[in-house]
Symmetry: C2
């Protein structure tokens, strides 16, 4: 197959898959009685638990708005109305008025069930509000997104006492990669299209980028999930933990930033250190797919689910590898994309119902039949497909990578 | 093989396995510099993380003392000295002086890292102190165990505000089976040999027993892990969750109590509802072994690790099935014991190094190479082997079950 035919093949398959996924969510997920979305949805769309999860409510609002804002096919009133229903639900029920913190879990009606001592629900809330503001033109959402972003910077950089963390004498301070990754992602989303705001947050984007880069360890050969605040390896198994999917996701966050700031060094690091190396280390040579966790010294990773294959890991790898190919034109990157594409569409895609299986065992067989659960919603797969479709269209239109290889990097 | 020969075969194998396991811990686990025990120990005994876990520190003290107190082979000075070292470490570093709460995790030196909003570390602390008091004859440990028991009753039944739980409007109150199970176990251990104390706590033993029995649901056909405080099924997937190993463990806790109180109804319920039915429902008909989690309606259990086979589940099943056989003399119970014995010694036992693998995939292959980790220590396997050895010796001595079948129950 010629390169162009191949890209067209990916595009066709991904467009169909996005429609199948979105049909699934649009049909089965909205809660017509209380607003917002059902998250725990079985293979065939049947709701098996009515509690609502903060990360997933906000991500679904964001996803609907993103598609509404950027595609003709989903620029539809029903999509916007469902997004508004979700947006109103999270403004009313997710956010705690006294301090702006957001609940991790609420009942179907919106009564709070759980709050985390982490700031991730708030991150997704800010992204949802910003995108909903752009979709509706209603400033109240935009203001809400910007004001949450400002709170997030305060919690992440100035004072995290609102998070209610217990600080114990032996608890070593940690730079956990998820925090700067999310901050970089949220700033980028909330500031999209607002150059003045972006300038205000530039210093925080630089900070988040540097914090992510601290995770490059072992002479550049490994991305470690948890490091000390000054960027050294932590003792014990937490310090040795690698999460290849997370590294690869950070890779495309960094690569996007490198493109925006025309930073070639950052681009090289993003592609080689965060995308190619973790892909290579994380790929299961025996059964295919990317492991969930690894230990940098080859010891047993402690999490019980370390050898499972997760849908989001493979979604992130598809985005990252295609973006890296688009930037460099290196055929080896398209080969890696092809490898993940084959595995993912072969193993995660459900021929009967839309949206991917979330969890496979090491051998690649689904271990869970549901399509939505407490940590899996309308987000990773549609985001991946939407972004890849945009890149594939651009590659086909330009008859090849955006820039012919200007950045010379060694790719294994 | 005659029944007697079979029992002798189990006994020989279990005695060898106990020695192999205890050799492993006695050789590799003590921290000679700071006291207490290393918990994160690789297959060959190499320490891969030096943090110390509260549950496991206390359980190891308890296990050493139990063997010291009840067997000739382990009534050795080095065993007692290591137990005292552990006991002193947890008194000094695990317990927080201001409120008696115990840390879940401390550094090697004993600095606090984590505290849970649950009371399990404190339960194991009380058990360790009581058993250490009996081993040493030193009243300070006995008093410490009794005073922690009194605090535990306060937290479990009167006022749990010391636990620091956030109570949110939509967070349904739960009777989680682990709490009454642990309370029954702790009361039984702390009061052992002290009839006056046992009388004081009799009302709490009754309460814990009733709380466990509330988990019998679906017309007696299922043990659900979480129910409402008044014993009805909770909505959603948490309400449908079954943990067969936990039910089976509760089964032998209840059976022990039934024997002590000569309660034949309780004995029948313990054996049929908590041991036989969960064993039958939990056994993997395709690959053998007992699943970790199930959904009572046959939906996907939500935990990622639901289909793994865990060492503690199988250790508990061995104790429960042998105890049920000893009480009833039913051959079918010995057959089930044999089935778990074959699976466990075939799959969990490591021919090269002592102590079992902790975690197998559904197919029965080890997924983790370490013998000790943050949730696996010197406890379930040695407790199982020690208790089974005692029961097997008694069966062989009495030439059959303790009582010829006086309790007529239908066993599948």
């Amino acid at each position: 197959m010629s390169s162009k035919k191949k890209l067209q093949f990916y595009l066709d398959r991904m467009e169909r898959e996005l429609d199948r996924a979105m049909d699934f969510w649009i049909t089965h997920s909205p809660d017509m009685s209380f607003g917002g979305f059902f998250n725990c949805v079985g293979r065939d769309g049947k709701v098996y638990d009515t509690d609502k999860y903060g990360w997933l409510q906000a991500r679904q609002v964001w996803m609907y708005c993103k598609l509404y804002n950027e595609t003709e096919k989903y620029h539809k009133d029903n999509v916007l109305q469902d997004a508004i229903s979700g947006g109103e639900f999270i403004m009313k029920h997710l956010k705690r008025s006294e301090d702006g913190r957001c609940y991790f879990q609420v009942t179907r009606e919106g009564k709070p069930v759980k709050i985390q001592r982490k700031l991730f629900t708030e991150c997704f809330y800010a992204m949802a509000m910003a995108e909903l503001g752009r979709a509706t033109g209603n400033l109240k959402y935009t203001v809400e997104g910007e004001s949450m972003l400002s709170r997030l910077i305060h919690w992440a950089r100035v004072d995290d006492s609102d998070l209610g963390l217990t600080k114990l004498a032996g608890d070593k301070p940690v730079n956990s990669m998820a925090v700067p990754m999310m901050m970089l992602c949220v700033i980028d989303n909330v500031c999209a299209g607002n150059q003045a705001l972006r300038s205000d947050y530039a210093v925080h984007e630089d900070w988040a980028t540097q914090q992510i880069l601290q995770h490059v360890q072992r002479d550049g050969k490994a991305i470690l999930e948890n490091v000390s605040p000054d960027g050294t390896q932590l003792p014990g198994y937490q310090g040795r933990l690698m999460n290849p999917g997370h590294a690869i996701e950070a890779g495309w966050f960094l690569l996007q930033r490198a493109i925006k700031t025309a930073d070639k060094t950052l681009s090289k690091t993003a592609i080689q250190r965060f995308i190619v190396d973790p892909f290579d280390q994380g790929w299961d040579k025996d059964f295919g797919g990317i492991f969930y966790f690894l230990d940098v010294d080859g010891l047993s990773p402690v999490p019980l689910e370390w050898n499972m294959k997760l849908w989001w890991v493979h979604s992130e790898a598809l985005i990252a590898l295609l973006m890296a190919y688009q930037e460099t034109g290196k055929a080896s990157l398209l080969d890696m994309f092809d490898q993940v594409f084959e595995y993912s569409f072969g193993k995660f895609s459900d021929p009967e119902f839309g949206e991917w299986w979330g969890y496979l065992d090491r051998q690649g067989d689904p271990t869970h039949s549901f399509k939505g659960g407490p940590y899996k919603g309308c987000f990773h797969l549609p985001r991946c497909l939407h972004m890849c479709i945009k890149m594939l269209k651009s590659l086909l239109k330009n008859n090849g990578p955006r820039q012919s290889p200007v950045i010379k990097i060694k790719v294994i």
